[in-house]
C-alpha cells in the first residue's frame, strides 16, 4: 500500500516543511531572531524603482533619495533651514560691478580716479565696502539671440550678435549690494553712466533681433561671486580624493548639452566656474540672482570616473561608438560612486537598492551599517510590511492618521508640506477686478470645513506664497475670518445688492465658472464645498472639470477662465518672480491670474537680488502682506504629512562617559525628523526614556 501511504505522507511532509518555516522567521517584536543584523539596517519602502542613480540626471524621487545618501553636495540646510557647509567648509559672497561711462562725459580713467579718491577719503558711507576700483579693457561679447517663430508653425531660430563693450570701470565690493549703482549715481551724477545701449551693437540688425539684443547689453552689470573653500581630505568611496576639479566637472557636465541634464536652468545664471587651487572654487554669476546659491546643494560627481577619457574607455570596452557614448549610457548610473555617508552596494531591479555605510565619511560614520530601499509597488502591502517590521517607516494617508497615532508600536511625526492649494481668480475679468469681491469670496469660504471633510483635519490655514515653516513666511498676517455676513457687506460696498437670495448688480447675478482638473478627487470635493459656501451669499457658481492636459492648454495657458482650484508645490528659495511678477501675465506664463501690483513687483525683484538673508526676509514678509491683502488667490490650506517609525528606532549619541546613550528622535523646529538620520539606530526592544 505504498501508493496510498505516499498519497497521505507526501502532502503531509510538504505541508509540514513549508509551515514549520514560520517558527524561524523574525517577528515584529523579535526582529533579531536568527541574526541581529536587522538592527543595523534601515529599510525604506518605495512604490517605484529608481530610474538613474546620477545626481545630474535623475528626475524621480526614488533615485534622488538614493543619490542623496550616496553623494554629498557643497552645502545643505540645517535645522532652521539655513545653509550650512558640507563638502564646502565655508564660503564668501562678494561682487564685482561694471559700468560703461557715458560717451562724451568723463572717461573711464577719470571716473576710476574719482571713485578711488572718494573711497580713500572715506567721504561716502559705502567706502568701506569697496575693495578695488579698476579699468576693464574693451572687449567683445558674443551672444545668441533666440527668436520665437514669427508665424504659427514657423521654426524658431537663433542669431549670433556681437556686443562691443568699450573700456569699463570695475568696482569690486565686499558684499553684494543691489543698490550700489544708485549710490554710485548719487556720487558721480546721473549722467556719468551710459544710457544708450544701441551704440554697442553692430549696425544693420534686423528689427526683431535688435529689440532682443538691446535688452542684453549691460550698461551696468553686477557679477556676484561665490568663493567656496572646500573640505580637505574627503575621499570618494573608491579612495580618490575630492577636490575642486570635481566641482568644476559637475558644473560642466550639467551644462554639456549631450547629457540632457534636467538641472540646466538652475545653473544658467553662472558666468563661469574657476578653480584657483585644489580646494577653492570661484563661481561668477552673470547677474544678481540670490536663489542660485541654493543650487550648490547639488551633489558632486567624481570627475575621474566620468571624464571624457574614462567614458571613451568604457565605450570601447562595451564595443560602442565612443562618439555617441555619453554619461547617460555609462554603467556609473547603475553603480554610483560618491562621497556621501553611504556607499552603493547593489541594485536588484524592482526588488531593492542596497547601500552600505561609508566608514570614511568626513563627519564620522553613520550608526546604521546598511540603508536598503525596498521596492514594494502596492501601498497596502507596504503598510503591512511596515506592521511586520520589514520596512522601517511608513507615510500615512490622512484617513489613517487618527488610528495610527494611538498605536503603541510606532512613533509618529507630522509636519507641513511645502506647498499650498488655492482658488485663483482671473483678475482681468469683471467682478474679480475689484479687491472687495475677491475678499468677500474668500471670507465666504469655510476653509475649516474643507480641512475637516476633505483632509480629515490634516491641514492648516496658510496666508501667503512662502513655505509656512520658513523665515520668509509672515506669521503676523492673520487669515481672513470665515464671515458670510461680512462678505455680503463687502459686496454691498462694491455695488451688489442681495435680492431674493441673489447677489445682483446691474440686473445680473454674480455668477461664474469654477474649473479644476479631472482626476484630483480632493479638488473636486473642494469645489463642491466652495460652491455651497458661495451659494449662501447669493453667488452662483457652476463647476467644471477637465483633463489635466486640456485644462492647462485651453484654460490656464489661454487665460480663459473665471476661477480655478489649483495647488503649487514650492521650494525653500523665496523667488516669486514667475508666479507673481506683472511681467509674467501673458499666455503660457505662470501668473495666469494676472496679478499686477507695482510695489509687489519691486519687492519680488529685490528679493531675488538680495544676498543678505535678513533684508531678504524683510522684503518677503512685506510682500506676503501685500499679496494677502490683495487676495488674488483664496489661500485654502497647506497639507500635513504624517510619517511613522518603529518605536525601536532611536538616536544614539556619545554620552559624557564615552558610551553611547539613546534618546528619542526629535523633529526639528521645521518638522524634519530625519535630520539626525546618521545617528539613528534600531535597538532590540522598545526603549523607555526618562522624562
Amino acid at each position: 500500500m505504498t501508493i496510498k501511504r505516499l498519497l497521505v505522507f507526501l502532502p503531509l511532509f510538504v505541508t509540514v516543511v513549508l509551515l514549520q518555516s514560520y517558527f524561524w522567521v523574525p517577528t515584529f517584536d523579535d526582529q533579531t531572531r536568527g541574526s541581529d543584523r536587522r538592527l543595523t539596517q534601515y529599510i525604506q519602502g518605495s512604490i517605484g524603482d529608481a530610474q538613474i542613480l546620477n545626481p545630474i540626471l535623475n528626475a524621480d524621487t526614488t533615485s534622488s533619495t538614493i543619490v542623496g545618501h550616496v553623494f554629498d553636495g557643497l552645502i545643505d540646510r540645517d535645522k532652521n533651514l539655513r545653509f550650512r557647509g558640507r563638502l564646502a567648509t565655508s564660503w564668501r559672497i562678494y561682487e564685482e560691478t561694471y559700468f560703461i561711462p557715458r560717451p562724451g562725459g568723463p572717461t573711464a580713467g577719470e571716473l576710476k580716479d574719482r571713485i578711488r579718491e572718494e573711497v580713500s577719503a572715506q567721504s561716502v558711507p559705502w567706502a568701506k565696502e569697496v575693495t578695488g576700483v579698476e579699468i576693464a579693457s574693451a572687449a567683445d561679447e558674443k551672444i545668441s539671440i533666440f527668436l520665437p517663430p514669427s508665424k504659427k508653425g514657423g521654426k524658431p531660430r537663433r542669431e549670433a550678435v556681437t556686443i562691443a563693450y568699450p573700456r569699463r570701470v570695475r568696482v569690486a565690493l565686499k558684499n553684494v549690494d543691489q543698490d550700489f549703482f544708485k549710490k554710485l549715481k548719487a556720487l558721480l551724477g546721473r549722467d556719468a553712466i551710459a544710457d544708450d545701449p544701441a551704440r554697442y551693437l553692430p549696425g544693420g540688425l534686423d528689427e526683431r533681433v535688435k529689440k532682443a539684443a538691446l535688452a542684453r547689453v549691460n550698461l551696468i552689470e553686477h557679477n556676484p561671486i561665490i568663493i567656496f573653500e572646500l573640505r580637505q581630505g574627503v575621499r570618494f568611496h573608491d579612495g580618490h580624493e575630492f577636490d575642486s576639479g570635481d566641482v568644476l566637472f559637475t558644473y560642466e557636465s550639467i551644462l554639456n548639452p549631450r547629457n540632457l541634464s534636467p538641472r540646466v536652468p538652475n545653473f544658467e545664471p553662472i558666468k563661469n566656474v574657476e578653480t584657483p587651487d585644489r580646494f577653492t572654487v570661484k563661481v561668477t554669476y552673470k547677474r544678481l540672482y540670490s536663489p542660485a546659491f541654493g543650487t550648490w546643494g547639488m551633489q558632486i560627481l567624481p570627475e575621474h570616473l566620468l571624464n571624457k577619457k574614462t567614458l571613451e574607455a568604457e565605450a570601447r570596452r562595451l564595443g560602442r561608438d565612443p562618439e555617441k557614448f555619453t554619461m547617460r549610457d555609462s554603467g556609473f548610473n547603475r553603480s554610483p560612486v560618491g562621497a556621501g555617508p553611504f556607499k552603493f552596494k547593489e541594485w536588484l531591479s524592482d526588488e531593492l537598492i542596497r547601500l552600505v555605510r561609508n566608514d570614511d565619511y568626513w563627519e564620522g560614520p553613520a550608526k546604521y551599517e546598511e540603508y536598503i530601499m525596498r521596492i514594494i509597488p502596492d501601498p497596502l502591502t507596504q503598510e503591512m510590511a511596515f506592521y511586520a517590521g520589514t520596512v522601517d517607516s511608513y507615510g500615512a494617508g490622512t484617513h489613517q492618521v487618527e488610528r495610527l497615532r494611538k498605536d503603541p508600536r510606532f512613533q509618529v511625526f507630522s509636519g507641513l508640506s511645502f506647498g499650498y492649494t488655492y482658488i485663483g481668480y482671473n483678475m482681468r475679468r469683471k467682478p474679480f477686478k475689484d479687491v472687495r469681491v475677491r475678499r468677500a469670496l474668500s471670507m465666504a469660504v469655510d476653509t475649516r470645513k474643507i480641512h475637516k471633510y476633505v483632509l480629515n483635519g490634516e491641514a492648516e490655514d496658510i496666508t501667503g506664497p512662502f513655505v509656512k515653516q520658513s523665515e520668509h513666511y509672515n506669521k503676523r498676517v492673520k487669515p481672513l475670518p470665515h464671515d458670510p455676513k461680512g462678505a455680503e457687506r463687502l459686496l454691498h460696498e462694491a455695488g451688489w445688492k442681495k435680492i431674493g437670495g441673489k447677489m445682483i448688480k446691474d440686473g445680473k447675478q454674480l455668477a461664474f465658472k469654477l474649473v479644476t482638473n479631472n482626476g484630483n478627487e480632493s479638488r473636486k470635493a473642494i469645489s463642491q464645498v466652495v460652491q455651497d459656501s458661495w451659494k449662501k451669499i447669493g453667488v452662483k457658481v457652476s463647476l467644471d472639470r477637465v483633463e489635466w492636459a486640456v485644462f492647462l492648454e485651453k484654460y490656464i495657458n489661454a487665460l480663459n477662465f473665471d476661477a480655478v482650484i489649483l495647488g503649487w508645490s514650492i521650494g525653500l528659495d523665496p523667488d516669486l518672480y514667475q508666479i507673481w511678477h506683472s511681467s509674467q501675465t501673458n499666455r503660457n506664463q505662470l501668473n495666469f491670474v494676472g496679478y499686477k501690483n507695482a510695489e509687489a513687483d519691486d519687492l519680488i525683484v529685490k528679493i531675488r537680488q538680495e544676498y543678505d538673508l535678513k533684508k531678504q526676509i524683510g522684503f518677503a514678509r512685506r510682500l506676503h502682506e501685500i499679496i494677502y491683502r490683495d487676495q488674488p488667490y483664496t489661500f485654502l490650506y497647506v497639507g500635513k504629512w504624517t510619517a511613522l517609525l518603529d518605536r525601536k528606532i532611536v538616536v544614539s549619541e556619545p554620552g559624557k562617559d564615552g558610551k553611547s546613550r539613546y534618546r528619542k528622535i526629535l523633529p526639528t523646529a521645521t518638522g524634519n525628523y530625519t535630520y539626525d538620520f546618521r545617528k539613528w539606530l534600531k535597538i532590540p526592544s522598545v526603549p523607555r526614556f526618562e522624562g
Binding site: P379, E383, H399, Q400, Y453, E521, Q528, V529
Partner: protein, 381 residues
C-alpha cells in the same frame, strides 16, 4: 410518498424515456449545489436588471457617482449626516446600506451598477468566445479529416504574408480582419487550385488535415499565459469596457470549441445526420442547423464557467489598474480601490469581494451541476 395522480409525474419516468434536456433538468434538481447556484444566479440577474434600471440615466434612483465628503468612509447601515449633505444628495434608502467609500459615494449604488457591468462583461465576453468557439470547433469537428494539400497551405501562408508586406502600417482593427480574410481566401484558392490539372500531382501529397490545424490553433492559444496576453492587449488598447470584453472574449474560445468539436465528432455518426445527408443537406446546413444545436448542451457548461472566469479576469485587471475605466463602477474596481482602506474601512473590500465570490461560485457550481448532469457516469448515485 404516495401520489394520487393518474399520470406519472415527470420525475417518475425512467431515465430512458426522457429527452436529454429533461434528463438534465432532473439531474440538476437533485443537485443541491447546482440548485443553490441557480438560485443565487436568479437573484444576481434580478439585481443586475435592477442595477440597470436604478443607476443609469441622468437622474438615477441610486446614484453611484454622487460625492458626499462629509459622509466619507461611513460603515454599512450608517445614517447620512443631514446637516452637511445636500438634500438632493441623500441616499435613496435613507441609510447607506453598504456604507460609503472614501469620497462618500454610496457603495450600495456602486454595487448595483457593478452588477450590471459584471453581467455585461460576462455575457458579452462569453458570447464572443462561444461564437468563435462554435465556429472553429464546428468546422474542426465536421471537416476534421479533410486534408490540406500543399497548395492551400501555400495560399494560406503567402496571401497573409503579402498582405503584411503591403500594409505594414495599417491599424489593428483593419489588419486583423484583413489578415484573417486573406488567410481564408488563400485556403479556398488553394483548394480550388488542387482541382486544376496542372497541380494534379500535388493532390497526392496532403500535408496535414483540418483537425491538425485546429490543434495547432488550440496549442497556440493555450501556450499563451492568458492573463498575460489579455493584460498586454488591454494596456495597448485605449481604456474602454468594450475592449475588455472583446479581449477576454477572443482569448476564451478554446473551451467551447473543444466541447463542440468532441460533441460533433460523436454526433455526426448518428443516424439523424446520415438521414439529413441522404436528403441532400449541404455541409453548412448540416453543421449549423443540425450538429451545432445538438451539441449546445456542453457549450452551455463552458459558457457558465466562462462567465465566472470573465468576471474574475475583469477583477484581476481592475486590480492592476486596467479594468473598467472610472467613473464606471465594476465590482473589480470597487474592490481594488477599496484596498487602500482595508484597515480603516474594511467593508470597501469585503462587500465587493464577497459579492464576486458568491456570484462566481454560483456560476461555477451551476456549471459543475450541468456538467455532471450531462455526464451520468460521474453523477453521484
Amino acid at each position: 410518498m404516495t401520489t394520487w395522480a393518474e399520470t406519472p409525474r415527470e420525475d417518475e419516468f425512467p431515465e430512458d424515456f426522457l429527452t436529454p434536456w429533461q434528463r438534465i433538468g432532473r439531474s440538476l434538481r437533485q443537485d443541491r449545489f447546482a440548485m443553490g447556484g441557480a438560485l443565487v444566479l436568479v437573484f444576481f440577474f434580478a439585481l443586475a436588471i435592477a442595477g440597470w434600471w436604478g443607476t443609469s440615466g441622468d437622474n438615477p434612483a441610486f446614484s453611484p457617482s454622487t460625492i458626499r465628503l462629509p459622509d466619507r468612509l461611513k460603515p454599512p447601515l450608517a445614517k447620512p449626516n443631514l446637516d452637511a449633505v445636500a438634500p438632493g444628495d441623500l441616499p435613496s434608502l435613507g441609510i447607506y446600506l453598504f456604507g460609503t467609500d472614501d469620497l462618500g459615494r454610496d457603495v450600495f449604488a456602486r454595487m448595483l451598477e457593478g452588477s450590471k457591468i459584471a453581467m455585461w462583461v460576462g455575457f458579452v465576453a462569453v458570447g464572443i468566445s462561444i461564437i468563435l468557439g462554435v465556429f472553429l470547433g464546428g468546422i474542426a469537428g465536421f471537416h476534421g479529416n479533410r486534408e490540406i494539400g500543399p497548395t492551400s497551405l501555400l495560399g494560406a501562408v503567402l496571401l497573409p504574408a503579402a498582405g503584411g508586406f503591403l500594409f505594414s502600417e495599417i491599424s489593428w482593427w483593419a489588419l486583423f480582419p484583413l489578415e484573417g480574410a486573406l488567410f481564408f481566401i488563400g485556403v479556398i484558392l488553394g483548394i480550388w487550385a488542387e482541382t486544376l490539372p496542372a497541380f494534379a500531382s500535388l493532390r497526392r501529397h496532403p500535408i496535414f488535415n483540418v483537425d491538425s490545424v485546429f490543434i495547432v490553433l488550440v496549442d497556440v492559444q493555450l501556450s499563451f499565459p492568458t492573463f498575460f496576453l489579455i493584460l498586454t492587449a488591454i494596456a495597448v488598447l485605449p481604456p474602454s469596457i468594450l475592449n475588455i470584453m472583446i479581449v477576454i472574449g477572443i482569448t476564451g474560445w478554446v473551451g467551447p470549441a473543444r466541447f463542440v468539436r468532441a460533441e460533433i465528432l460523436s454526433l455526426r455518426e448518428r443516424p439523424f445526420i446520415e438521414a439529413a445527408r441522404a436528403i441532400g443537406a449541404g455541409d453548412m446546413r448540416l453543421i449549423f442547423l443540425h450538429l451545432v444545436p445538438n451539441s449546445l448542451a456542453p457549450v452551455l457548461v463552458s459558457a457558465t464557467i466562462g462567465i465566472a472566469g470573465a468576471i474574475l479576469t475583469e477583477a484581476g485587471l481592475s486590480f492592476l489598474g486596467f479594468g473598467v475605466p472610472p467613473p464606471g463602477a465594476s465590482w473589480g474596481n470597487i474592490l481594488s480601490d477599496g484596498r487602500k482602506f482595508l484597515f480603516d474601512a474594511p467593508w470597501l473590500m469585503f462587500i465587493p469581494g464577497i459579492a464576486i465570490l458568491i456570484v462566481v461560485l454560483a456560476f461555477n457550481l451551476f456549471g459543475e451541476g450541468l456538467r455532471e448532469a450531462l455526464n451520468p457516469r460521474t453523477r453521484p448515485e
